[in-house]
């Protein structure tokens, strides 16, 4: 079966996570626990893209209020299309958040977060061009 024969219907209401780097689609699907969402979801892997050559896409129907801001930590190039009544009502290119709580792990073996497991990790963005964060506790840099 060729690429052109694989068609997935447009959604009339929901979110399209687009421009996902090939291989990250399944990662994002699992990270968001989309299998448990109870909605119709399409995960498209390795589809042709004029900009990227190949890409992954996730379409989530009937949901407009998912918090997806942290996806940029997995894939910096993704875009979000919010669709209602068949039209794109909002298009978002995600930016790195200034503060990330609980998602990143400090790589400094001497950091207190490696010893006290109840501590929620906290990272602050120090340089968006190099995608560098800094650990709140030990000041160790982390590139995402």
């Amino acid at each position: 079966m060729s690429d052109s024969e694989l068609k997935v219907e447009k959604i009339t209401r929901g979110i399209v996570i687009d421009h996902i780097k090939v291989g990250n689609g399944l990662k994002i699907f699992n990270k968001l626990n989309l299998g448990e969402l109870g909605k119709a979801i399409a995960l498209l892997i390795n589809v042709p893209s004029s900009k990227m050559g190949r890409k992954d896409i996730i379409k989530i129907s009937d949901v407009l209020d998912l918090d997806l801001a942290m996806l940029v930590l997995i894939d910096p190039d993704i875009t979000l299309d919010y669709i209602d009544e068949g039209k794109v009502i909002k298009k978002i290119k995600l930016e790195l958040p200034n503060t990330v709580r609980g998602l990143l792990k400090c790589r400094n073996a001497r950091c207190i977060t490696s010893a006290e497991s109840y501590l929620e990790s906290i990272f602050y963005l120090v340089d968006s061009s190099s995608r560098t964060y800094c650990c709140h506790y030990c000041d160790e840099f982390l590139k995402v």
Binding site: C111, I112, T113
Partner: protein, 309 residues
């Protein structure tokens, strides 16, 4: 009132100046402050070995008329039973008015601040910060020179892991006309992120790096010697190879300016020979003494005590 001192940059230049003036007043007339912290209790929680820092804090508190509760050996405390740092701090802060903590993990003092109901002073968190050593170093300069600015500083030894060096270098960046001479083996050079921190605050700062201390000794107003710290190495062979790289002896001291200052956070191992101790430029033991007086000023400030007497 200042609730925490975790990072030397937690204090403004004005607060440093206020502490220097208070420390000097206490140093000159300690008899006026013997009852200042009467009825106050300070806890020293030391999760790793320390002699001078812990005793300096405890002596400072006693000299202010306060009392001290000390946990100097974690093997005989609740820590040995597996208690978390958060629970220890929550509990201890019920008993005391101020906590001093030393802990081997980077960022531990920030955790203590989070869970404490009383002011917290970081007495060293891993290889991260040691702000009261910085305070001591700056106070020593203030007492000897009347100012911190307009000095050429040489930092010698372990510039990679040495927290006292990192803290002092980043804090000095806030003062004008400070030049840095960095003397270390290649493996122990100052990390780039520390240089970046300095340049953010002071874009005109210059770093002269060398592995030959003789090259730069004549240029220095202050030589800050440090020990190569065994506990910061993961590999014992690396420590043994590097530990005696720089030794300051009488011949090298003779290459320095007549009014230069030789400082060291102590303890010394072999990096300064004993013959240097008699040189008037060697002020490291006086520096340790001044550390106690500036800690008296700091404790007073953080307890909100009135030192204007």
């Amino acid at each position: 009132m200042i609730k925490k001192l975790v990072n030397p940059l937690d204090l403004s230049i004005q607060e440093y100046q206020h502490l220097f003036e208070t420390g000097k007043t206490i140093y000159e007339s300690p008899q006026n402050f013997t009852q200042l912290a009467n009825s106050k209790i300070l806890a020293t929680l030391f999760y790793e070995p320390s002699t001078r820092t812990r005793m300096s804090f405890e002596s400072a508190m006693f000299r202010l008329g306060g009392k001290v509760l000390s946990m100097a050996d974690t093997s005989s405390s609740s820590v040995a039973k597996g208690e978390s740092l958060a629970d220890t701090i929550k509990t201890i802060s019920n008993y005391v008015d101020i906590i001093v903590i030393r802990h081997p993990k980077d960022g531990s003092a920030e955790v203590a601040v989070k869970y404490s109901s009383v002011p917290v002073i970081n007495a060293g968190d891993g290889a991260h910060h040691h702000p009261t050593q910085t305070l001591t170093d700056l106070f020593t300069l203030y007492m000897y020179r009347g100012k911190v600015s307009n000095n050429s500083f040489g930092f010698c030894g372990d510039l990679k892991y040495g927290r006292t060096v990192h803290s002092l270098i980043t804090t000095l960046a806030r003062y004008p006309e400070v030049n840095y001479y960095l003397i270390s083996p290649e493996e122990l050079q100052l990390p780039q992120h520390i240089k970046n921190s300095v340049l953010e605050v002071n874009p005109k700062a210059t770093f002269n790096e060398t592995s030959q201390m003789e090259e730069v000794l004549p240029n220095l107003d202050v030589l800050y010697m440090t020990r190569i710290q065994r506990e910061r190495f993961f590999n014992e062979d690396d420590y043994l190879r590097l530990k005696d790289t720089f030794i300051l002896d009488k011949n090298k001291v003779n290459m320095m300016k007549k009014d230069a200052l030789i400082m060291h956070p102590l303890p010394r191992v072999s990096e300064i020979t004993y013959e240097v101790d008699d040189d008037p430029r060697a002020i490291y033991f006086e520096q340790a003494k001044l550390g106690m007086y500036i800690r008296m000023a700091l404790i007073s400030l953080m307890l909100g005590l009135n030192t204007n007497r």
